[in-house]
């Protein structure tokens, strides 16, 4: 983390519902937009008082017009509901950019992306910033066809997208790992970057390890501060010397999947 973190008040430029219970928001926030890296996130508060008490972490899905942040937010509880109920012109408190972010691709490095539903957000930003194109494979897993709107995003469409849904209502029926495995067997890339539900990432990490491919995961875990002050977001690390933890908000949220103690996570 070398970018300076700031506390800002961002103005909502756009807020549109999409997919199922999701909202795409564009927030004017030039400071954070200028320095953010893919995989980094912001901590948001869009309410007065103590209900909920803590800010909510949301990945940066992209930068719009150089000065605004694109966010994809799923409504799962009170925090995400209040954030996504804001209308254009309303203000939201943000701190960011937070976290380490994904390593940019090395020259000629072949990077694949694997996303579960809104886990696509930081990967979309990666593609936007580092210009992943049709030679980049983007594996996507959703629950049902309503999740497919994510892969209709222009930035994601540029890549070579393979999608699955659990119920088979769109794309191939099954889990994203069902299509990732044969692809890895055929010709593994240099690196996989992935974000999605824990179970999915654990499976992706295992497949990558088996294929000898480096795999960077962006972990989602409960956070209080978001910038290394509370030690709340412990991520268990494989270590001979007994128990050891890193912190999702400051050491992560992106980790080399090989260092994570998935059983203890």
């Amino acid at each position: 983390m070398n970018t300076k973190k700031t506390s800002s008040i961002a103005r909502v430029i756009r807020a549109n519902r999409f997919a199922k219970e999701c909202c795409e928001m564009v927030l004017e926030c030039p400071g954070i937009a200028a320095s953010a890296k893919p995989g980094q996130f912001v901590q948001m508060k869009a309410w007065e008082g103590f209900q909920p008490l803590l800010r909510r972490p949301i990945s940066i899905a992209g930068v719009v017009d150089r000065s605004s942040l694109l966010l994809w937010i799923r409504i799962v509880g009170p925090g995400s509901r209040l954030i996504t109920s804001k209308l254009p012109g309303d203000e939201i408190e943000l701190i960011g950019p937070l976290g380490n972010g994904f390593e940019p691709p090395d020259k000629n490095e072949k990077v694949w992306m694997v996303a579960g539903t809104l886990g696509a957000a930081p990967l979309r930003f990666y593609s936007q910033l580092y210009g992943a194109g049709a030679d980049c494979r983007f594996f996507y897993g959703g629950a049902a066809s309503c999740d497919m709107e994510v892969v209709e995003d222009a930035e994601i469409c540029k890549m070579n997208v393979c999608a699955t849904t659990e119920d088979g209502s769109a794309g191939q029926k099954g889990l994203v790992t069902d299509i990732l495995k044969p692809a890895l067997d055929e010709s593994p890339p240099d690196r996989i970057i992935t974000c999605g539900p824990k179970g999915m990432m654990k499976a992706v990490a295992a497949l990558s390890a088996a294929a000898g491919t480096k795999c960077d995961v962006s972990l989602d875990c409960f956070m209080a501060c978001g910038f290394g002050a509370c030690m709340g977001c412990a991520v268990p690390i494989l270590d001979d010397g007994g128990k050891r933890y890193l912190h999702a908000c400051s050491d992560g949220p992106v980790f080399d999947s090989a260092v994570i103690d998935w059983e203890a996570l």
Partner: protein, 306 residues
Amino acid sequence: MSNVDMTVRIGGLTLKNPVLVSSGTFGYGREFADFIDLNKLGGIITKAITPKPRAGNPPPRIIETPAGVLNAIGLENCGLDVFIKDKLPYLKDLSAAIVVNVAGACESDYVEVVSSLSKEDGVDAFEINISCPNVKHGGIEFGTDAGRAGELVANLRSATKLPLIIKLSPNVADVCEIAAGAEAAGADAFSLVNTYRGMAIDIAKERPVLGNKIGGLSGPAIKPLALYQVWKLYQSVKLPIIGMGGIMNHIDAIEFIYAGASAVSVGTANFIDPSASVKIVDGLSTWLAEKSPRGFEYFIGRAHRA
């Protein structure tokens, strides 16, 4: 912001204003440097330091409850040596008072941290954490037994000339008993409250939510309880009190001062707004300016006179 004098003395420690930030909620200080000018604070209380580094408890370590935060960090910290090498040099250059929170599994742990750090430049006082509810041997056995608290303080007293602030646990029948033991043994001040023992259960998993099962509750939910503890302690000890527990703004801070606190410490609020502490400094300063010519001291324990 007005330019009133908010200097306050806590035992031998002089604070330029009565606002500190609480142990465990402010990392080692530097984490907040992007957001605020740390020199605006009266003092910074570090995360608990133990002789050796501690890994802390398994996750989940922190969850939300109604108007509260339940944590079981388990005293994760970098240990004495790394603190001296990597953290203290940065802190030492700040004009805020540096208070090191000290924890341990046994008396010698406390003595080791206190005597080592007393030799270092940059430490202004110690906050002796005998009240961590989240680890088996986190000192709470001292915090719930007046005799043992007194012994510990006596030992630390001979290990350092720096002010000893004893951080009290609210998880006792009577905080004043413990405080009396520490006062007699040479403590300089008290701070309270540490968190209240609590838990949450995940009914889907049929088990406690926290990795450590049990945690400590902080935040606005406990403010009425913390305020009462400060109120009660003020009636029973002569030493100055640093009040904390759910302080979110300067109004809350004033409540603690009226209850008997000579200074306040801001904890959970730092997570919600990294500049909460500085806003409280500003708020208190404006408030005090309005109360002029009465000085800050006049208001300490004011509500007892009603």
